[in-house]
């Protein structure tokens, strides 16, 4: 018999999941379930959409109305669902490659439209499922199977991109700080408009091994020691923040949500 939370929100027949020992995705998936539980949403009114990649296995494990779509297109499918049924709570779980490379265009346009979807990015800084290729969030100089001498590209800051493109709620949590991350996801779901919660995950198998980061415990410890709350970060210089993870609610803006605006047009022209 699993815990009450797991029993209520996960498909037990599919557990244990296939994620590697210590993988941060398992922790983050629990945070999502806990956030939904804290809000008290009706499970049948929640739609979980995922793309392709390690992160996107979550749609198979979570017991909501779920959709496991094509690579990078979780937000495209989710947009369709939300436009057709604005009454549903639509949550997207994507990976860093899924959200910012293959689906980068969908991310920026969903943000621009401010559609009422909660986008949760499980960011492990690498393509785990396909064998450890570097992704758009792999830090500069770090290694992947396709960057054996170190990555020469600068990484994306997914939360910042989303904010710049119009997302009205952006936040960053970590797999280490489950309490904070759960709260950020909860606030993101409650937020009306497009919300992006970038969750720093860990990939001990590929990213960790390639970059000699030690065990899963070492990687969580790194997150613990290098996370800086946004309130504190505001008083710090860019040099001091180099290589750190700024966590917490990064932005919240007020702008009309897409499906509400769309409905207002329908109501107006039908008069």
């Amino acid at each position: 018999m699993p815990s009450k939370l797991v029993d209520k929100y996960l498909r037990e027949a599919h557990l244990p999941h296939i994620w590697c020992p210590g993988c941060g995705h398992g922790v983050l998936m629990r945070d999502v379930a806990q956030a939904v539980d804290n809000i008290g949403l009706d499970r049948n009114k929640v739609v979980l959409v995922s793309g392709i990649g390690c992160s996107s296995r979550a749609a198979g494990y979570m017991d909501f109305n779920t959709m496991h779509t094509t690579h990078g297109r979780a937000l495209a499918f989710a947009t369709g669902i939300k436009m057709a049924r604005p009454d549903l709570e639509v949550i997207c779980i994507m990976g860093d490659g899924d959200a910012s490379a293959i689906g980068g265009n969908h991310l920026i346009h969903a943000a621009r439209r401010n559609i009422g979807i909660t986008a949760i990015v499980f960011n492990n800084d690498i393509y785990g499922m396909t064998g450890g290729q570097y992704s758009p969030t792999t830090p500069y100089g770090e290694k992947g199977t396709t960057a054996p001498y170190g990555n020469i590209d600068r990484p994306f800051d997914i939360a910042k991109i989303a904010q710049a493109c119009g997302a009205t709620y952006t936040a960053r949590g970590t797999a280490y700080d489950a309490v904070l991350t759960t709260k950020l996801i909860e606030d993101g779901i409650r937020h009306k408009g497009f919300s992006v919660i970038e969750c720093a995950s860990i990939c001990p198998t590929y990213y960790g091994r390639k970059n000699k980061k030690g065990s899963a415990v070492d990687m969580y410890t790194w997150q613990k020691e290098n996370s800086i709350r946004v309130e504190k970060a505001q008083a710090m210089s860019p040099e001091e923040l180099k290589g750190k993870l700024v966590v917490g609610k990064l932005s919240e803006d007020d702008f009309p949500e897409l499906t509400e605006q769309y409905q207002a047009i329908i109501d107006r022209v039908r008069k």
Binding site: S3, L15, P16, P21, G26, V27, R30, A178
Partner: protein, 66 residues
Amino acid sequence: MAVTNKKLVINTKWCKGCGVCAAFCPKGVLKLSGEKIEAANPDACIKCGMCEKRCPDYAIYLEEVE
């Protein structure tokens, strides 16, 4: 004072032995035994539940006891 209406449950079938719960347990209750976790020092448990929140495999949790 320890909270007694909760019980620590370990599901060894789901445990993958990553050791995260043991490493971050504030009271040193948990220990890896081979490839699985065990409550080596259960009396010290304060039932904070952080192991449950940190376990990537949902293999450890607190259960309400009647």
